[in-house]
Assembly symmetry: C2
């Protein structure tokens, strides 16, 4: 697959056009528009590979960028101009769907989409808090709006406010350091997607969840530390998710 024309998001995911196709490969032909997500190889014989959750392969999935493949080569991800990859790790991109729009779906998109579906966040009228407005946060807000959720964006920076409202259509914006405003939101939200990395407090976020509320960490915030009573009192959940399976990504 040659991605010279479209090295749009250099890094973990790749979009481009199939230039050559191996023998006996059904469903892909030269000229097809394809994408490659966060991994380009896996053991292919464990339960997770069978369930198309290759990212959790027991032998370890090979990441698209800076991974070590079975032949010892280091993967270059979107920094290279072409990629030779097994068809199991390719996704078809619909005609007329912009490649530059498809690319983020293959990493940030699936990373937030999987837990949103798994934890039933696609319920019209429910409320979602998105912590952090980087790549993952953007995708979480966009999916949330598409599901009909009421979205509150939490960010450390007031500079993200305009973007949250005008570009992404968020319903509310809170600066994370504003303790009063966070307190006023107590027990009012159904779900949280936490995209922020680096150590931060979790108790204030757990407190804004309604009974049965779910906090999903998709960033890597280091140590998760919270008062267990905050989970107990409202039967709340803290969980995490990394990327997603090939079936759901497609």
């Amino acid at each position: 697959m040659r991605c010279t024309d479209h090295p749009i998001v250099p890094g973990h995911e790749i979009v481009g056009v199939a230039e050559e196709v191996g023998m006996n490969i059904n469903g892909i032909k030269v000229g097809d528009r394809l994408g490659v997500g966060t991994y380009v190889n896996s053991g292919r014989d464990c339960e997770f590979c069978e369930e198309r959750l290759k990212i959790h392969c027991s032998k370890g999935a090979v990441f698209t960028f800076n991974g070590v493949d079975v032949d010892g080569s280091i993967t270059k991800g979107g920094y290279f101009t072409f990629i030779v990859v097994h068809h199991r790790y390719c996704y078809r991109i619909l005609e007329n769907y912009p490649l530059e729009s498809a690319a983020p779906l293959l990493c940030a998109g699936i990373t937030v989409y999987r837990p949103m579906i798994h934890h039933k966040m696609s319920q019209l009228g429910k409320s979602l808090e998105v912590i952090g407005l980087g790549g993952l946060g953007h995708m979480a807000v966009k999916f949330g709006k598409a599901f009909g959720l009421n979205i509150t964006v939490f960010s450390t920076s007031i500079n993200k406010k305009e973007e949250a409202f005008s570009l992404l259509g968020a319903d509310k914006f809170v600066v994370s350091s504003d303790k009063e405003e966070i307190k006023a939101l107590a027990k009012s939200l159904d779900f949280i997607i936490g995209t922020a990395s680096g150590n931060h407090l979790f108790d204030p976020y757990i407190e804004v969840l309604k009974m049965g509320g779910v906090l999903v960490l998709v960033g890597y915030p280091g140590e998760l530390k919270l008062e267990s009573f905050h989970l107990l009192r409202g039967m709340k959940t803290a969980t995490s998710s990394a990327s997603g399976g090939t079936k759901m990504t497609q």
Copy 2:
């Protein structure tokens, strides 16, 4: 309800026989065998009361023991010889079902049963780790065996081993301080019910969970502190639960 004959488990729950019944109360008559669980009152008009999850009443449920009722009286739970209680907080106990067996179901029983059902732990052949073998732990093992789960008991004391195997039918017993044995269990279990109170490490327990595994805290271990990567790597969940609703308790 007079419980003079059966103050079997003094404390949070009560079992006994109805001595007088208020007017216009359907479904309960004098002589009926009844139980009262962990709460004897609630606001009765919030969403949680409507959903029979009165323990999470927004005005605060009144605990059966050492609670302050609307008239200012302090509740005495099973330490008293009788109780006057609204029928919404009474449970029918089947004829021939021993009252002493019903009593623990009304507190420890529902506390572990609710999250076991909610998190789909009743799947034949799945594996459950029970941390701690006190009142809650006993009930978790008994429900787990009834559901056909493979049960591993973790306890700080080797003295619980005989009880775990002979009395409760556990399949495996591990002393919590045995780091080697815990390490050998890595990624092997589906669910954990954590009944231990007091601060303890959580990372070793999260590590024994398979991908998608769930840790439910039903004790009160103070601060929950774990490496978020341990949740992320296997899409694992930490959650908590307190008692349960009247419908499920019944």
